[in-house]
Symmetry: C2
Subunit: 301 residues, 2 copies
Amino acid sequence: MSPVVTSTDRYLTRASAPAQWIDRSDPVIHHPLGLDAPGPLSAPELRRYTRDGYVVLPAVFSTEECQLLVAEVDRFGAAAAADDSTVIHEPDGEAVRSLFALHRRDGLLSAFCHDPRLVRRAEQVLYSKSWIHQSRVNRKAAFDGREFGWHSDFETWHAEDGLSDMRALSIMVALTDNLAANGPLLVIPGSHRTFVPCPGATPDQNWRSSLRRQEYGVPDRGAITRLAADGGVEAVVARAGSVVLFDCNLLHASAGNLTPVPRTNVFVVYASGENQLVTPFAGSAPRPWFLCDRERPEARR
Amino acid sequence: MSPVVTSTDRYLTRASAPAQWIDRSDPVIHHPLGLDAPGPLSAPELRRYTRDGYVVLPAVFSTEECQLLVAEVDRFGAAAAADDSTVIHEPDGEAVRSLFALHRRDGLLSAFCHDPRLVRRAEQVLYSKSWIHQSRVNRKAAFDGREFGWHSDFETWHAEDGLSDMRALSIMVALTDNLAANGPLLVIPGSHRTFVPCPGATPDQNWRSSLRRQEYGVPDRGAITRLAADGGVEAVVARAGSVVLFDCNLLHASAGNLTPVPRTNVFVVYASGENQLVTPFAGSAPRPWFLCDRERPEARR
């Protein structure tokens, strides 16, 4: 299958030669009223999201809701078959490190992904009905929780999933406290305004290794250094129940966890119903359904 | 040489069998007036140091002083012979990762270790003349700076250097910004009140490997978990020029650095002139002079 790379690819990446940075040509707030867009996000929250590429909203979910969700993740993890590729266990085989496709699971987890507290905020930014591109729980184990390097999600979704436009965002919900010391999300504020092409042709089934450590879709260190010189690097501290909206193109990473306190976050990716999924721009085979849900059921509502 | 372990060893460690925790029998503030001790540290600062085992003092040194010190570290690093064991370079051989024995080097670095802004605060806590047990610069490289695990300095100094009492403290000076995201010091507030014996007979020349990764003098994870349940875990954020006083028995670690921003800290260990250096309690040969200065020149002033 030959890749569909036409002149409409505004965000060319995974080329063999180093490429220039590309200024973002999509809006950050898609609503034509911009910061005055009506909805649950206030104008100051929209302003922060526009400027920094993310915004933290404390205490959106209760402690009890968070505890129920953690228990539900454990239940699905314990019930999963050994060859279930939607569940990744810790190397010792016990705890669940990642659980994918929450929006396709019965009961609490699916309801959570469609909770109006998340969907209404996402659709305020996207200015359209949305569909869920991906959803997952990520846990960072106590003491041994590993770091994860710098990347833009959109770069991968564009290259490996064929997501056309920067009209998508992630909502992270902290189910346990994200402290400065226990492996928080790290972000470069303002980096969402620049698309940094990443070098290297993408092998098929790259996702099998990239969930542990990315080798493709990694911006070069010079780019990270220059963007961080402008925007700094922030550790996103968020108490359990907090919600973090972050733009699909925000450069982020995740610190290691040396503390005895594990941390658990949910990520749900909402994309606009008008954001097309086409043949992956990097020319590799599409990723599996639990990493990119090509059925887009919500978009057909 | 047979170890001198008598009934006067109040902090027995490195035994073959697991041992009970030991309540600290030394004061934290050695001045008999306690929080009213006269000197540069205010009563609120002494209160925080007593309660948490550390205190952060912003803006003690100027940006210019910090830059001069960084340049001086670079100068000594560049001039060091390849077999100089007081300098540890990064694996690529370029930058200096650690430089020891600052107080034995001419000029700025020695003057810095004896700066009254440091010594007067140390001696206020110690209630005596002090001597410098060890001094060093530690750098955490951008992107690849490695974490360092949980430990009490006193445990090692007692076991491997023969430092008798908890009448010593470290002063850390941030020469560059210590951010939540670039590998800050992590501490368990309040942990300085408990001595956690660490298992395992200590091999001779353990220091050759322990500077990279400790295998002896490591508290078990259950102890860290219980102490952190009481005191939490804090990332010590400190702008360049800030000073952090921390007790010799405070459990601490150091996070990895994923950011493009390296960080450089100086540590100077001040011990009371009345704190004896005897035969190491763990029965191993004493560590070299640049890790434990047994000449104690200042104590003879």
